[in-house]
């Protein structure tokens, strides 16, 4: 591990930044240490910069862990250095094995910390098949929203949390291949400028959040789910509903049922670690889709979109309840005459 100096290179440090009661020092390096627990992933941030510590702590306060990490742990090191030649300050961000990043503006540091954590999870977290997806839960209906950047996934996630859905993840759907349940990864939501006004109209306070900068999204606000609703975090999620969002600002929001095979294929396209799991990933995702109702959602108006998802969730819950009743009655009336046709019409 890099030996970091504690010298604060000319920063004007407010006492409240470094005298926070929960600020810990790493015994090995003397750096400020922030421990967080994101589901099965323990995160340890080490930094010699109190302002970076304060930025990260403010965003991840609800995920802070007091105990030393057990299980899968990823360490991110942020070192602030001033060039002796030019006097220019750089922030160097690195994981234990991941690439190093070097940025000049502090506003870019927290998004890079998140990037290092995501890389570490995608490459090294064992035990889970990973999809690029948001995960939420309402009642006993777990919702998976697969999708990459620009599909409206994060905006819809924030709006659903406001409407009472509980939050598991905005980045990774961590699927247990044994149970098909989903583990949480409740990182803060990265809100782009174009979504701020939309979410403010939903009653979510975003304008007062500090701005950070991401290379792919521009200026963002990091919105902890607990800012939207204090008790929004959820533990394991049992999936019942998969919704693939398609952004179209001009379209009337609509839901279209998807064949499960097509849904599985769309999910596999979003699989971060397919190379590691191969046929097990295929089997896991197939089982996931067989367990769920699968839809393609064309999104336009945010409120209507959330309403449609709510309707789909109610339908998924009813289907599950009906299936449970059918199973109990079928034990005494099994229809063994039902066979399969070799050729099914297209």
């Amino acid at each position: 591990m890099t030996a970091l100096s504690l010298s604060i290179l000319g920063d004007k440090i407010s006492p409240s930044v470094i005298d926070q009661a929960d600020a810990q020092r790493d015994s090995a390096t003397g750096c400020l240490r922030f421990n967080a627990q994101l589901g099965p992933v323990a995160v340890r941030l080490l930094t010699n910069c109190p302002r970076v510590y304060a930025d990260y702590a403010r965003v991840n306060r609800s995920l802070q862990a007091n105990a030393e990490a057990t299980g899968f742990c990823t360490t991110v090191i942020v070192e602030k250095r001033r060039s002796w030649r030019s006097g220019i300050v750089h922030y160097h961000i690195s994981g234990e094995v991941e690439e190093r990043f070097s940025v000049r503006k502090r506003a870019r540091v927290v998004p890079h910390i998140d990037g290092v954590i995501n890389l570490s999870v995608a490459r090294h977290l064992p035990d889970y098949v990973q999809l690029h997806a948001a995960v939420l839960q309402r009642g006993d209906v777990g919702l998976v929203i697969p999708g990459g950047p620009g599909f409206g996934k994060t905006t819809v996630t924030a709006a659903l949390i406001k409407r009472g859905w509980n939050y598991a993840s905005d980045e990774f759907a961590l699927i247990d291949p044994q149970t098909i349940d989903l583990a949480p990864f409740p990182k803060s939501l990265s809100i782009k400028p174009g979504s701020v006004a939309l979410l403010e109209r939903e009653g979510i306070d975003i304008a007062n959040l500090r701005r950070f900068h991401r290379a792919d999204k521009g200026a963002i606000r990091c919105l902890p789910a607990t800012n939207i609703r204090p008790n929004a975090l959820v533990d394991r999620v049992t999936p019942r509903l998969i919704v693939f969002p398609q952004l179209d600002g001009n379209a009337e929001p609509s839901l279209r049922e998807l064949p499960r095979g097509l849904a599985a294929m769309n999910c596999l396209r979003r699989c971060f670690n397919f190379g590691r799991w191969g046929p097990i990933a295929m089997e896991t995702v197939a089982r996931l889709c067989e367990r769920c109702s699968c839809y393609e959602l064309t999104t336009g108006d945010l409120a209507k979109t959330c309403e449609l998802i709510g309707i789909a969730a109610d339908s998924a819950a009813c289907e599950r309840n009906n299936n449970a009743e059918q199973v109990s009655s079928a034990t005494s009336h099994i229809d063994s005459a039902r066979g399969k046709r070799a050729v099914v019409s297209a």
Binding site: P259, L262, L268, M282, A286, E290, S345, A346
Partner: protein, 80 residues
């Protein structure tokens, strides 16, 4: 091959990739067993599907087989 509801997922271990076949494509793929030609495959599907012209089915079978060949899910063998 992993059957699912409305078709199947095929895993290609050589290319470490997955392909999705809907029910019709799966029927074509299953009939590509070394004993059927394009014509006989089309005829079998024509017998199973009501109301679709044989020529339409033949075109679809050719398209499907071309796609399966492109994705290395089929090989062509010369007739004996």
């Amino acid at each position: 091959m992993r059957p699912i509801d409305d078709g199947a997922l095929l895993y290609d271990p050589v290319r470490d990739s997955v392909h999705y076949l809907n029910m019709t494509a799966l029927c074509v793929w299953r009939l590509c067993d070394g004993t059927h030609s394009i014509a006989t495959i089309a005829q079998e599907l024509h017998d199973a599907f009501d109301g679709i012209e044989l020529t339409t089915i033949e075109t679809d079978v050719v398209t499907t087989c071309s796609k399966l060949l492109d994705d290395a899910l089929l090989t062509l063998e010369a007739a004996a």
